[in-house]
């Protein structure tokens, strides 16, 4: 007997249906890095190659990369998590990061080790291919697709099929710029108007038979300049889904701006051309695609239902007491599914970060509690564990508590988003990542996660205007910059109010510049003003929308009034009075801005 004979093996039913990996890409990556280091590959082509394979550059260094692992439709299986845990310990910082686009990111990886990560990922069917660069990025799907009580049907199989069709497809290997698909379950749970292609499943009755299809939104997106997407047509039948996607990508490929990197996302094309013209172009192109490609191309939509099997409980804890905090957690972290007796449980992380030990624990917890045997990444740097039987919720909570994954507030304002910021991003001006963690800690300390008035509001923070932290669609959004008093600099944030990503998608309105160390007091002040002026059934979100739209009746009637109410927070103290004001979170030396070469356009 040797040790390896006893390796744990997983039954086939707990494995994903699609293998996204190509092992030979690991070898190729290793060789390419060697050639690059020997000077046989120029900087630009190497960067393109690296990004195409999912490795981003890192702040102020050429020695490290960030590897972005795609989770198409957000699906992640226990044995994949175990591998990622191992890889994060071996080649990264012992933690991994769940992003807002259903990727898992490993930071501070030595460039020469990236190929080893690709190799490890290939062992479990995952890839980072086309996770960065000018390609079709990870295809997202709502973490509630399949279980949402408001959905027409489960769009997950369509998201997976779309991801599969475009991955490594010659059609999308050198687009003018990155290209993103978001599928969702319903209007409420998703971000379909802030993406290149957003899709909501819908059905219609055609002479007594129910036809499946989508509401498709095109040309939205967040960034330095953000746009809201337009709906292509009333109803796009499912047979037309692929043709539409191909048509849009072909138009973008042909007409997208390849010269001006700052303006080459598809939304600029749509905006420059005008929606109607673009819409016509798409419909015409689709007719051509349909006519020329119908025989060879179709989406391989696998609609076989997942196996739902409640795991056999190893121990019966029914007699044991339920730990403190359970009710709070139940209220703020779980959603009842359309399947009776089942819940979806959300795990909130601090700005998406999770330790390798927690990832291993999570793998075990999924097997023990999720009747579908895998988990889904969410939209807000979080994780959803679905098909948890209602009777198992208390023991799941206890289990999560023991590994530090039971923080409450997952589905509330107490789960802010923070992009990477100065922890690793070359373009960052502030430590937005840490600020998000600080806000979450404060909110939980004050138990604001339990406040129903705040529940549907959100806080999102970017470390620069590029909007990776999605500040534009937050109820209270921030992006970082530097403030100045004479020769001294301090970290500062531009605050916007009233952004949203639902049916009434709008971008937040600019309100004020708030120094980093005043952000938390300002948020608390806004909440205090709301409490003073709210109507009986009000939520913070509604109140802020009335203010932004000039419809509020109390003394804070407009964004200008709000600005005035917050003025006192923005006056810098002298350095002698408050030296802390002049440092950013996570740093004890004086703040200064420093940026390197950005790769967003690469």
């Amino acid at each position: 007997m040797t040790v390896s004979d006893l390796k744990q093996s997983y039954p086939d039913s707990s494995k994903p249906k699609i293998n996204w990996a190509r092992i030979e890409e690991a070898e190729d990556f290793a060789n390419t890095v060697k050639l690059f280091r020997q000077g046989k590959y120029d900087e630009d082509s190497f960067r393109r190659y690296r990004l195409q394979h999912g490795a981003y550059g890192t702040r102020m260094t050429n020695d490290y990369a960030m590897v972005r692992i795609k989770l198409p439709a957000g699906e992640i299986y226990p044995y994949q998590l175990e591998k990622i845990s191992q890889l994060s310990e071996q080649f990264s910082i012992g933690s991994a990061h769940f992003s807002t686009r259903e990727n898992i990111q490993l930071h501070w990886v030595i460039l020469e080790d990236v190929s080893e990560i690709l190799r490890g990922l290939a062992e479990v069917g995952l890839t980072s291919r086309e996770a960065c660069g000018n390609s079709v990025r990870n295809v997202m799907c709502s973490p509630l697709s399949g279980v949402c009580s408001d959905e027409e049907f489960d769009s997950t199989p369509y998201a997976l099929a779309t991801a599969r069709f475009f991955l490594r497809n010659p059609l999308s290997q050198s687009l003018p710029r990155k290209f993103k698909f978001n599928f969702t379950c319903c209007e409420k749970h998703g971000m379909v108007r802030m993406v290149d292609v957003g899709l909501i499943p819908q059905t219609r009755d055609l002479d007594g038979t129910i036809q499946k299809g989508f509401k498709i939104f095109l040309g939205g997106g967040l960034g330095n300049k953000s746009f809201v997407g337009h709906q292509l047509e009333e109803f796009t039948p499912e047979e037309d889904l692929l043709y539409t996607s191909i048509a849009v990508i072909r138009i973008f490929d042909r007409l997208g701006d390849r010269k001006n990197m700052a303006r080459n996302r598809m939304r600029y094309l749509v905006n420059d051309m005008g929606w109607e013209k673009f819409q016509n172009l798409v419909l015409k192109e689709r007719a051509i695609v349909r006519a020329t490609q119908s025989v060879v191309t179709h989406l391989e939509v696998d609609n076989t239902p997942s196996i739902i099997k409640r795991p056999i409980r190893i121990s019966d804890e029914s007699g044991s007491s339920i730990p403190d905090g359970y009710a709070r957690w139940l209220k703020t972290n779980t959603i009842k599914q359309k399947q009776s007796e089942y819940y979806s449980v959300f795990i909130t992380l601090e700005a998406g970060d999770i330790t390798s030990n927690q990832i291993t624990a999570l793998a075990e917890i999924i097997q023990e509690f999720s009747s579908e045997g895998h988990a889904r990444a969410g939209f807000v740097q979080n994780i959803a564990l679905r098909y948890v039987h209602e009777d198992d919720l208390p023991s799941l909570y206890s289990k999560l508590l023991t590994v530090g994954l039971a923080k409450s507030g997952a589905l509330t304002m107490a789960a802010p988003i923070g992009c990477s910021g100065t922890t690793s991003c070359n373009l960052a001006l502030t430590n937005s990542h840490r600020l998000a963690k600080e806000i979450q800690r404060k909110f939980l300390e004050l138990k604001l996660d339990q406040d129903d008035d705040l529940r549907d509001s959100s806080i999102k923070i970017s470390g620069c205007p590029n909007a990776c932290g999605q500040h534009g669609i937050a109820t209270i959004g921030f992006f970082g910059g530097g403030g100045r008093v004479g020769k001294e600099m301090y970290p500062n944030y531009q605050m916007s109010l009233g952004g949203r990503s639902d049916e009434e998608t709008t971008l937040g309105a600019t309100c004020h510049r708030i120094p980093a160390k005043r952000v938390i007091p300002v948020i608390l002040k806004i909440i205090e003003l709301f409490k003073q002026n709210k109507k009986s059934d009000d939520t913070l979100k509604d109140w802020i929308h009335r203010i932004v739209n000039g419809k509020e009746e109390s003394y804070i009637k407009s964004i200008l009034d709000m600005r005035k109410a917050l003025d006192s927070f923005t006056i810098p103290p002298t350095k002698e009075e408050d030296p802390d004001f002049y440092t950013d979170y996570g740093s004890d030396s004086s703040y200064h801005t420093k940026t390197g070469k950005g790769e967003c356009a690469a």
């Binding site: 007997m1 933690s95 020469e112 927690q358 922890t423 996570g586």
Partner: protein
């Protein structure tokens, strides 16, 4: 055959079991005494790492080795429950003394036990032996040595601590190879081909002189010492007093500047 033996860095489970049956091996358990007393691999003697480190001068080590019944010819296998790092430090010390046949058990004691393999709580009767001293200074790096040689083009300095600690501070010129990178789920060291590929990618190959170090006493870097030997690299040294001494001596330290990487950690 003897050539083969000197580069053997780990002993697999099956071989160790048969060597124990043949009584042809001395097994050293480097865990704490109370753990050893509860259960250990049959015939193993106990040499807790802390005990060794309290005085690891060659004269003292010689006494310990003699008392464990080890002479120049005795094959020795060392194990721990700390992914091989403590065992490595003990094995290296024997090697430094001049013992040529010492290797690491390929796995940890917990894994051994979880496989249901034999263990007991008996302390064996040991007949003391006479070992010679033939120190091997070529496997040791001191701070002075390191300072003068680290910037030579043919010297590779490797830091085996975790990545964040490395980013925060390290010996200038060192490259980062966290100890976790060296192991697999089941074994303290990767298989040879796997290890070789990994090291090749990092440019750790050929005839360079390689010096490893870690945080304080040369355990994690001891494991790296054996990892490098396992792929046949000929010239490896352990900076046994490691970063703790270096810092204490106020020698130069390098840092990855202008980034708040600690804030990415969920610890």
């Amino acid at each position: 055959m003897s050539q083969e033996k000197t580069i053997k860095t780990t002993t697999d489970i099956d071989s160790l079991r048969s060597e124990i049956r043949d009584k042809s091996v001395r097994v050293i358990d480097v865990r704490r005494e109370e753990d050893y007393k509860q259960s250990h691999i049959p015939t193993a003697v106990n040499l807790p790492l802390a005990n060794l480190l309290s005085d690891d001068s060659p004269e003292r080590v010689l006494k310990l080795v003699n008392a464990m019944g080890i002479d120049d010819e005795t094959p020795v296998v060392v194990y721990d429950d700390t992914f091989g790092a403590l065992a490595s430090r003990v094995a290296w010390t024997l090697e430094y003394l001049g013992h040529s046949d010492v290797s690491l058990l390929e796995t940890t004691f917990s894994k051994w036990k979880s496989l249901g393999l034999e263990n007991d709580d008996k302390t064996p009767e040991i007949q003391s032996k006479e070992h010679s001293i033939h120190l091997k200074p070529e496997i040791l790096a001191t701070s002075d040595y390191l300072e003068t040689s680290k910037d030579k083009p043919d010297v590779i300095l490797i830091d085996n601590r975790e990545r964040l600690n490395y980013l925060e501070q390290h010996i200038p010129g060192a490259i980062s190879l966290p100890y976790r990178t060296l192991a697999t789920q089941d074994k303290i060291l990767r298989p040879k081909d796997d290890m070789k590929r990994l090291l090749d990618n990092r440019g750790i190959s050929g005839n360079s002189e390689i010096i490893t170090y870690c945080g304080s006493v040369g355990t994690l870097s001891g494991l790296a010492y054996y990892a490098l030997k396992s792929v046949g690299l000929p010239n490896v040294k352990l900076y046994v007093r490691s970063f703790k001494e270096w810092k204490g001596l106020e020698k130069p330290i390098a840092k990855q500047q202008d980034a708040n990487y600690w804030d990415l950690s969920a610890e």
